[in-house]
Amino acid sequence: MAKDEFNQYRLVGTRPDRPDGLDKVTGRARYGADISAPGMLWGAVVRSPHAHARIVKIDTSKAEALTGVKAVVTRADFPTGLTGDEWDLQENTMAGEKALYDGHAVAAVAATSKLRAEEAARLIEVEYEVLPHVVHVDEAIKPDAVVIREGAALPSVPEGMPPNVVRYFENGRGDLEAGFAAADLVMEKTYKTEATHQGYIEPHACLGQLGADGKGEMWVCTQGHWYIRKMCADVLGLEKSQLRVTPSEIGGGFGGKTTIFMEPLSLALSRKAGGRPVKIVMSRSEVLRATGPTASASMDVKIGMTKDGMLTAGHVEFRMQGGAFWGAPVDMALDCAFAPYKMPAVMHIGYDVLANRPKAAAYRAPGSPMAAFAVESLIDEMCRELGLDPLEMRLKNAVREGDKSSYGPKFKKIGLVETLEAAKAHPNLSAPLGPKQGRGVAAGFWFNHGGETSVTVALSEDGTVTVSAGTPDIGGSRASIALMTAETFGIPYENVRVNIVETGALGVNEPTHGSRATFATGKAAVEASNAAIKEMCRRAAVEWGIDPEAVEWVDGAVRPAGPNAGKFPPMSIAEIAGNMGDTGGPISGHHEGNLSGYGASFGCHVVDVEVDPETGRTTVLRYLVVQDAGRAIHPAYVEGQYQGGAAQGIGWALNEGYVYGDDGRLQNSVFLDYRVPVASDLPMIDTVIVEVPNPGHPFGVRGVGETGIAPPLPAIANAIHSATGTRLRDLPMNPPSVLAAMKAQRNG
């Protein structure tokens, strides 16, 4: 496509109505809990009230005797002998010898109504031997800490580490000592972030059916139904192809719906209940107690800087707990820590530590927000100390194309400098600040992702196009995929329908994760469209009796490529499709692969806050998100990702966090107590979409979902510092902690 670099597209970059909009504003869209089936039973799950306890005995007799109860399952109903990640998934699905956290499933029941199932669950008697527990990472990493699981350490852990360390990371480059020696200022501080939950408004829900023949079906809200298929099959010992998983509309995921929780329980109950389908819908409390929040972190950072703001060296040591299984995103946090900057010398050390908390799941740019909080906060403290402008300092050190990243590979074309420049030029930077008000700046990074992708594009008899895609649409990806497909074919946007199809309809697709849906599914849809176009050119060539290379595709039609090719009137996609039965049968295109070419995305946020000295409450006055999208296919939904990421980051910074009692139980397991930002907490969120096209995508897409959650944590801490002169190094910065810090500052 040899067109101008900008505005060369007919559809890409426009803002049409999303194809699923009508269903979603009328209540017709069907989410996880919205489907019922003939003969359906309801499931309920019995959960441990203890953080750590040996399961002595489970007596299910009273529940089984209750009228309407059709099946009860415990771990005894699952296959034995699993190892590694498969064992972890099975153990998290249903506790074996020990309950490992408050909310860990220990039994499940299926009955003829929801109320009956809940009654039966209450009749299941579990005898526990309560064990000592540990929930905080700095305690869990101690050499004499309560041992959560013997022998759980992976091979990366050297001899002699504390017993709950299950993964260890150490990597870096450059001469660290020389780097720190070359600095005019070296500072070292410790930062802590609490675990937060993705907080999708739709609780997990599924409807599973499994017969004695090992054939099963599932309807489920998930970011990735092939993952659900694989994981359920592994945990239950099924053949993967015999399980057919259909994704519902999904009410938010943010990474938290990329794995299994109660899904295998519905299948196990169904199998035991003679194959009757079993629906399980989690309560909010179950979601908060027993699905994957993110990790909590304790982080030491040391940075060297010259007096004119050049970074000379960086050293981080991150300790994270991600629950009773390995999986805290320490590795990704380490890689993100210094990613925006040219670092002459850098060292990363990380510990993944077990604790008696639920198994962490991915949460929007896993690891990046914690790392950004630590590193971007310390950089801000150093800029203050040296009297440097935080944006100019970041510009000076910003990575560019060809620079070696802090975590290894060389950056391809990236847009950090353009992003920082756009932030600098924004009017919010010159808005006057009043007393008790302050401004904070921070940068953020995410890798983005390609991954396993399989897409089919098929022509209908009228020349309209159906795309079969495998990445559930959470935030408007059907619109972006339809735009790219229609652009490629040269047909109207409305002539493309994108369906998210079940596991039997395509090869394996990774979930909608890693900001990959518009990048990878979009790229595959374009490739598949090009394959269909090639076939249409071939058929026209046969009809015209000319060489296929002498046929070209322009604006939704074939035509001879030049005067030498012959004189034939163009044939539209509708004409070709209308005759395809006579010219060789169905026309479709398919593309699959492990897609590469994804491009990193950088962002910069600028926030103005006001802090009430009486209460410690922080009000966000102004908020600006600037981020490189590569190419914004549907800019309204790109803005939406930026705004949504910022809002989640603001919540993490100011208010959200898991609160555990001394008994190891989660104390804030409802939305009243786990308070996410509401409309009256936030201002409008300004956005600037920077477009430095990614050469690895036909339209330049990078992926936009995740970067935006990282900068708010440090940007708000930096703004609170500006407003109050007080530095907060622990999250959340809620009114009591801000007030206490301000008092300590006055008294100190």
């Binding site: 504003v25 019922s36 739709e202 609780p203 959470i474 939305f671």
Partner: protein
């Protein structure tokens, strides 16, 4: 527990169902009447996804018992459009990209309609405080607030 016969009106239609006295209005709408447009996000009245009107008053249907619907008039998201004619709020939510996953959308629409019925010309702050009982985790509320303000402006224009 034996069930109780309930006669009520939903979106103008007379309906009947048998409710266990422990079931919420939300359970009855979804499981007995098949009106699954109204969503459950929390079950404790904190998220607003189950917003409906009861005799014109905005309520969380998870905090109302099904048997309390006897003889009342209930309005849900399914009753907002008139045939193919979407309510201006529904149109503006699509136009402004005021939804991402869409799960909170029915509750926001019902709550926003209740606001505009009372106050056709709300300020941004009034919109934000009225909708503070409806949680959205995807959008950061920016586009939702804009859609509600724009719908209000259009409805005022039409009313002139």
């Amino acid at each position: 527990m034996s069930k109780i016969h309930v006669s009520t009106t939903v979106n103008g239609d007379s309906v009947e169902f048998l409710a266990d006295p422990r079931e919420t209005l939300l359970d009855c709408l979804r499981d007995h009447l098949g009106l699954t447009g109204t969503k459950e996000g929390c079950g404790t009245g904190d998220c607003g996804a189950c917003s409906v009107t009861l005799d014109g008053t905005l309520v969380c249907s998870c905090l109302v018992l099904g048997i309390e619907a006897e003889g009342r008039e209930i309005g849900t998201v399914e009753g907002m459009a008139e045939g193919h004619e979407l309510h201006p709020l529904q149109r503006k939510f699509i136009e402004h990209a005021a939804l991402q996953c869409g799960f909170c959308t029915p509750g926001f629409l019902v709550a926003a309609k209740a606001l505009l019925d009372k106050n056709p010309d709300p300020t941004e702050t009034e919109v934000r405080y009225w909708l503070a009982g409806n949680l959205c985790r995807c959008t950061g509320y920016d586009k939702i607030v804009r859609a509600v303000m724009d719908a209000a402006a259009e409805m005022r224009q039409e009313a002139v």
